[in-house]
């Protein structure tokens, strides 16, 4: 009885988790880029790096729209870094992000903020 209960609960949790993963693993990362004053930075280049156990590997880049929004699709890395850059406005710090599973769809809580370089 105990075995059935524990194994049943475990199997249910694993199945539930995998079902959740299947419907939320398109690898979409959405966010915004703003300048130092908080205004949307249109046309900024955003770079995506995958964090491996030892290094950061460049994977993709995209440009922001008129509202400063950007989106990456099909990016599976569960541990990655983002950095935005725009000529004249500087670059944002390279920031690490984590996901609970590979390809988890993610909307960034805070925008990438550009800062003028030294």
């Amino acid at each position: 009885m105990r075995y059935a209960f524990v194994l049943g609960i475990t199997a249910a949790l694993v199945a539930g988790w995998n079902a959740w993963v299947v419907f939320h693993d398109d690898g979409i990362v959405r966010g915004r880029v703003v300048d130092a004053a908080g205004r949307p930075a249109a046309g900024a280049v955003v770079r995506f790096w995958e964090k491996t156990l030892t290094t950061l590997e460049p994977r993709a880049s995209t440009a922001t729209g008129p509202d400063g929004a950007f989106v990456f699709t099909g990016q599976a890395a569960h541990h990655f870094a983002l950095q935005a850059e725009q000529r004249g406005l500087g670059a944002s710090p390279r920031t690490l992000y984590r996901r609970y599973f590979r390809g988890q769809n993610l909307v960034l809580d805070a925008p990438l903020r550009l800062r003028a370089g030294p």
Binding site: V6, L53, T54, H79, R98, Y100, R102
Partner: protein, 270 residues
């Protein structure tokens, strides 16, 4: 007076238990926070808990493959221990010439560490063409003397009249073991299952010697490989330790009552 003494004893036991659980707590805490284990003063309570080190382990190494190999090897070891040890223990409960000498030989063999017999064990496994195989990994743990004596203690407690009745009814010896002895020795079965599972699950030296193929590596080998990747993986390393420990702990918690019964059966008369 008696109650206050019991309270003192219980208090002391709680302190000792807590002291023994501290390393496990520390491993769990570090796996959820990744904090520096050499930090001074150490933080007793975890701060900024997150499960991402477990995610790193899951994707950083072929964890499922290691887990599958460990499960297969442990299953072979457990099944083989149940069969071989029950048969050996039943034989030792019967009266035969040289029985005492056999028991003495088995007991003396317990004094020989496995490391001393590892070269002959390797050569035998090689001759059987079982290197780099699950069966070869489980082979040295297919029968353990401790578990033979656990079974023997339990079988000795079964009334002889019951075995005689089974014989009169025409049951062959193997069916007496299967249908009379084993159902009356569930605590010994649980003890054997837990001990053989934990020993094979944690086995490191033997798999390190007989496995060359990365596809056949078990969890302890995976842990050592993971450790060699880089040094600054405290959180992920401890998360891996927890993932390795959980199946054995679950099995123990499920069977702890029978396990303790099995280890203490035969300790007292009557």
């Amino acid at each position: 007076m008696r109650r206050s003494r019991a309270a003192v004893v219980h208090g002391a036991l709680v302190v000792v238990s807590a002291a023994m659980l501290v390393p496990f707590y520390w491993v769990l805490k570090t796996s959820l926070t990744g904090e520096n284990i050499f930090q001074y003063p150490p933080a007793l309570l975890p701060r900024a808990i997150h499960p991402f080190y477990y995610v790193d382990v899951w994707y950083g190494i072929p964890f499922v493959r290691y887990l599958t190999n460990s499960v297969i090897v442990s299953a072979i070891a457990v099944a083989s221990n149940l069969v071989c040890n029950a048969l050996a223990a039943y034989a030792l409960t019967l009266r035969f010439r040289g029985q005492r000498a056999v028991i003495l030989v088995l007991l003396s063999c317990m004094l020989i560490p496995f490391q001393a017999t590892i070269i002959p064990a390797y050569l035998i496994t090689k001759e059987l063409h079982l290197l780099n195989s699950h069966l070869g990994l489980a082979l040295p743990l297919c029968s353990t003397i401790v578990c033979i004596f656990v079974f023997k203690a339990s079988f000795d407690a079964v009334p002889r009249s019951l075995i005689d009745a089974a014989r009169i009814d025409g049951l062959p010896e193997w069916r007496i073991i299967r249908h009379v002895m084993l159902p009356l020795s569930t605590s010994a079965v649980a003890t054997t299952v837990i001990l053989s599972f934990v020993w094979s699950w944690n086995s490191f030296l033997w798999p390190l010697i007989v496995v060359r193929d990365p596809q056949r590596q078990t969890l302890p080998l995976g842990l050592s490989t993971f450790l060699s990747y880089m040094e600054n993986t405290t959180g992920a390393l401890y998360a891996f330790c927890i993932m390795v420990l959980v199946p054995g702990m679950m099995l123990f918690l499920l069977e702890q009552r029978r396990f303790i019964e099995g280890l203490t059966s035969g300790a007292t008369k009557g």
